[in-house]
């Protein structure tokens, strides 16, 4: 928490602008970014591409049902205010986390949904990683499928993206590894049997075969932190939001795959 404050204070907007320019020029010339999808087996890719075969569709359908179900003291549904999600939620997930002016910091999609849940529906917030929250997030995310990620456009996010980058590059845990060591410097190589991906969060929430379930980006990051034997960041903490923001900004321009399937 303190570390973020310090990072924020010492980082300048210009650095961020430079980064975006670099990212953009990168994509203009030789975009070497790859989604994990590109390196998955044909079977798993087919599973992701076909709604009938994609196990995440169960959650998406649940989310669609929740969308039009009145809830809370207000007895209002998401649809009562937002109408047809295909229109109102199109492209929304592709630009999260966004800058929340009221709180002066970025907010992720799950937290944004829970905000409506609490203040608009006047219902108790969904627990992190709960089936209902995953279902609604997958349903909202599904409306951005195929659209390019645009996260990071807002200049007010700059110091938070930079804070996320520093977390990504910092060595952590008993193994003394950083995320960047694997995902920037050794992507494409094999960690025992696992192909190291570039870690672009293009498809969250994902159905992970290893989990036999849908799971959030935060859960995926906790898995990697556990592998590093590092203390995980608390759910919803500034650090985890900054890290998610950095990863999404790093994937800017790549296509949204939600809900993706991963090994």
């Amino acid at each position: 928490m303190r570390s973020i404050d310090i990072v924020l204070r010492c980082v300048s907007t210009s650095g961020f602008v430079l980064m975006l320019v670099l990212l953009d020029s990168l994509s203009a010339t030789t975009d070497t970014r790859r989604s994990t999808y590109d390196d998955m087996s044909r079977d798993i890719r087919a599973m992701q591409d076909d709604d009938m075969a994609n196990p995440a569709s169960l959650w998406v359908n649940d989310g669609a049902a929740l969308w039009s179900q009145p809830a809370g003291a207000a007895q209002m549904s998401c649809a009562d205010c937002h109408g047809d999600a295909a229109t109102s939620m199109k492209g929304v997930a592709a630009r999260y986390p966004v800058f929340d002016a009221a709180r002066g910091k970025p907010v992720g999609l799950e937290a944004r949904i829970n905000h409506c849940r609490k203040t608009r529906q006047q219902a108790p917030a969904f627990a992190p990683e709960s089936r209902d929250l995953l279902a609604l997030t997958a349903f909202v995310g599904r409306q951005s499928r195929g659209l390019p990620i645009t996260t990071g456009d807002d200049p007010r996010l700059a110091p938070f993206v930079e804070a996320g980058r520093m977390i990504f590059e910092r060595r952590q845990g008993q193994l003394n590894l950083s995320c960047a060591i694997c995902h920037d410097h050794n992507a494409g190589k094999r960690l025992a049997s696992a192909l190291i991906p570039q870690a672009h969060p293009t498809g969250y929430p994902i159905y992970r075969l290893e989990w036999q379930s849908l799971g959030s980006l935060a859960r995926r990051l906790r898995n990697c932190m556990a592998g590093m034997r590092a203390a995980p960041y608390a759910t919803g903490s500034d650090e985890i939001v900054a890290l998610e923001l950095f990863l999404m900004a790093r994937a800017r321009g790549m296509a949204t795959e939600t809900p993706a399937v991963r090994p």
Partner: protein, 161 residues
């Protein structure tokens, strides 16, 4: 040596550089002791000549540790002449021939703390707990391998001629 970075706020660039230069200095041959126990090993010129334990290392146990993905973790990154382990990583050099390329003392130092010979190494320090950030509670203050396990691993590596 003990360069503690328990406060994550301190792990900013200048300190990293400071630590890196400290490590670089040690690599040039200043003898230092690692932040392990009272009987911390002495490292000189990237080598630890004195075994960490009185009991000599057992190469058979060492091979098992290297092969075990939860204990040694070596095969996550390395390949090694351990045919029964099908999935081996390709982030690091093949361990075959390591015993010919390095002396026993150099191999010991490498496993204890690879940062001594290469400050920017990605190989985890197996026998040192200093200068680590955000170690998970279950592993806090604990070495990746015990001194005896390290001796076993070294005894195995020596056989890889």
């Amino acid at each position: 040596m003990r360069v503690q970075r328990s406060n994550p706020a301190l792990s900013s660039r200048p300190l990293d550089c400071f630590v890196a230069s400290l490590l670089a200095m040690t690599a040039i041959g200043v003898a230092v002791t690692l932040g392990v126990a009272d009987d911390a090993p002495t490292i000189a010129n990237g080598a630890i000549t004195t075994p960490l334990t009185a009991t000599p290392g057992d190469p058979v146990r060492g091979r098992k540790i290297v092969a075990n993905r939860q204990v040694g973790l070596c095969l996550l990154c390395h390949t090694a002449p351990i045919a029964e382990e099908r999935f081996q990583g390709d982030l690091a050099p093949d361990l075959a021939g390591a015993g010919a390329r390095w002396s026993e003392a150099e191999l010991r130092a490498r496993v204890v703390d690879a940062r001594i010979s290469n400050p920017s190494t990605i190989m985890p320090p197996y026998g040192a707990t200093g200068d680590l950030t955000r170690v998970a509670a279950a592993f806090h203050g604990k070495q990746l391998l015990s001194p005896q396990e390290i001796e076993d691993v070294v005894a195995y590596l020596v056989t890889l001629k």
